[in-house]
Symmetry: C2
Subunit: 291 residues, 2 copies
């Protein structure tokens, strides 16, 4: 996939504006007059981001959720979304799922475009929000001595995905209809030293936070709340799609919403990430990677 | 194409936010604090919006230009763009064309996302700008008695397209590298009663302006400046891709930039549009339509 890598490198070089913090993995933060805007654009593609034959209402919901989750990690209040949609057979379902997600999150559709097309279908969404707190949280602000927290539980999306894939009669709503942590993000933004969503898996995203902040992060795997069988704990820690928030607070600051402490931030050591004391040197295999 | 039509109707019903003025054909106008933001998302698809085998640097340029042209019609100053890109064989060319267009227009890439994928390729871009004048021009403000103007000349994009299609050794830069009228849009915004770009063809877009403003628009075809052979005049008036601005000024107001008067606004009569006195009742055949 060197071609893809080269392209993304080209775009990163292009994205020299300070607002383009990190192409693909983060939001843009843009000062406009007295406001700070948060912008993100995420795509979902058949076969990669959803199963072929999936209910397009669920796909549309998730497209909204994954973009709003990026805003949540910035403590942003969503202002609206713009849709780039490739027309297909299940457009009515897609439109209804989009409506449900936007209604649920109280976010307006501001506009967009549609095209016809054959082959693999993909759908893009731009979400725009306003920062509720400045400075806007990023993944790079973690300080040595901070405590590491996550919202919610991990693993339910994985179990839901497997149920859908295998045709089991089990609850899959955590996978098909995730809820972005918008309220938690806004409540936490004034207090955190760093925050990001863990859509790509806890371990990979914690690894990225440690790298961006030039620290080591130590996670106690047993402390991570999971909503999956105990023998799937490690899978839950590396599976994406949970859309929970990962964040750090200075020692002595108590979180203002119900969350779980799962580790701490240490001086940069042998590896960016330590799981139960074991160093994890390489990001590979820690979660869902775009390349 | 009733499925597509139903989908677009569904989205229009969804886009109840006042910022969603007109899904697909117009920008969203969003008040944020003391600022007024302009947002648009346009897509380009292989086979529909560009020839298969086209230079992807040109495709990227045009994707930027068509979105910035929407901002130009609102008199907006661009703040940045976000890209939704389907990876392909010519990504390096695409990235270079994107860089050239953004550099030329002095607009930063704020972020975006990429996906792999087979079949028809499509690319989306969200452009965000700030209004330089309030109220923001729309297509619906035309008043009876106004004069109708366009910037630039029509037809060069059509001639360029035909040269490319037929492999002729002729200039095709008007088709491959259009320039959004950002400066003209900002200069005109404080004075116009209505403004829009004519990316879908002069006659179709004038028809839409008349419909949106509930007036009749009378165009004198001979007064339209064209950059094409005289025997192609009617083709130039219905061909899209020129990215010029169509606008109306109250009687007695002189335009502040070089433009051409091509008609006037009259009380709503038998048809929305009159060309050399002939009524044009139906939009069909007047230009490039999305459906």
């Amino acid at each position: 996939m060197s071609g893809e890598f080269a392209f993304i490198q080209s775009l990163r070089a292009l994205a020299t504006h300070p607002a383009a913090r990190n192409l693909e993995d983060d939001c843009a933060v843009l000062e406009v007059g007295s406001e700070t805007l948060i912008l993100t654009h995420d795509m979902m593609m058949e076969g990669t981001h959803y199963l072929a034959g999936a209910d397009m209402a669920d796909v549309a919901w998730k497209l909204v959720a994954c973009n709003l989750s990026d805003l949540a990690a910035k403590g942003a209040e969503p202002l609206g979304v713009l849709l780039g949609h490739m027309l297909g057979e299940d457009d009515e379902a897609f439109a209804s799922g989009l409506a449900e997600a936007l209604w649920h999150c109280n976010v307006p559709l501001l506009g967009g475009d549609t095209v016809g097309g054959t082959g693999t279908h993909s759908h893009g969404l731009t979400a725009i929000g306003r920062a509720t707190h400045s400075p806007v949280p990023s993944r790079s602000g973690t300080q040595i001595g901070d405590a590491l927290y996550i919202t919610g539980q991990l693993g339910a999306a994985m179990i839901g995905y497997e149920a859908l894939r295998d045709g089991l009669d089990a609850d899959h709503i955590a996978y098909t209809r995730p809820l972005p942590r918008l309220g938690e993000g806004q409540a936490l933004a004034p207090h955190v030293t760093a925050m990001m969503d863990i859509s790509d898996g806890l371990l990979l995203d914690a690894f990225r936070m440690a790298e961006a902040s030039d620290v080591s992060i130590a996670i106690d795997s047993a402390s991570v709340p999971i909503d999956a069988p105990e023998n799937r704990r490690m899978d839950a820690l590396t599976w994406g799609d949970d859309y929970e928030l990962l964040f750090t607070l200075p020692a002595g600051i108590e979180p203002s919403v119900p969350v779980t402490r799962i580790g701490q931030v240490e001086p940069r050591g042998f590896a960016p990430l330590f799981l139960d004391g074991e160093p994890l040197i390489n990001a590979e295999g820690l979660g869902y990677s775009h390349n």
